[in-house]
């Protein structure tokens, strides 16, 4: 299992802050699974939109390997400070 967290606009649009999902081999596989839910998932996670993904609190660029127990976070560009 992995833990997937959503922040800010994603949390609101998806209507969920976090969920447990079965393990995936890669972040691309996880993304395909989420996009296949269609609707807001497909719209928000479109590759042309700018958003970020972190695995175990490290930002990943491109596709990254996933392991059982990983924490994956998906979020819009940050706007703190």
């Amino acid at each position: 299992m992995i833990q997937v967290l959503y922040f800010a606009r994603f949390k609101e649009v998806f209507g969920v802050a976090q969920e447990r999902l079965p393990s995936f081999d890669t972040t691309d596989a996880l993304l395909k699974y989420l996009i296949d839910r269609g609707d807001v998932w497909a719209a928000e996670l479109d590759a042309s939109r700018s958003w970020r993904m972190a695995v175990n609190q490290q930002v990943v660029h491109g596709c990254a390997a996933l392991a059982d127990g990983d924490e994956v976070a998906i979020f819009p560009p940050v706007t703190g400070g």
């Binding site: 922040f7 972190a54 560009p77 703190g80």
Partner: protein
Amino acid sequence: MMIHVVIGEEDFSLTEHYEAVRGLGDCGAVVAFVGQVRDDDDLATTLTLECYVPMAQQVLHNIAQQACVNFDLSAVRIVHRVGVLAQNAQIVLVLVASGHRKSAFEAAQFIMDVLKTEAPFWKKISNAHGERWVEAKDTDEQASKRWQYVL
């Protein structure tokens, strides 16, 4: 090298953080930056700050450490608030101590610039017009990238 990072709902005291670095050895120059919620009287703005706390802790620590190494600091303190903040409320504090003013100024700017693009915080604005998430700014992206070439 003394690094202190706080993320939380409570307000902070500039003085308290300033006094904490004053006694330290090589501290001829102290620079503090405080970011506050802007005062748009007509709109009665409040900000809601959301944060991915454990990751933000790590990111702010890393930025502080990089600042220490690159700018020869004796102390760095970063405080970032989360939750609902009213007009004029303090949002963020960056305070650095160094032997010399040039490195103190540069370090504080470096920390703020990188924090703005790397630390997982998100601002939502609520006012008379409604609510909206703040969009990331290109100018912040540029300000952060310039340090790649400077350092």
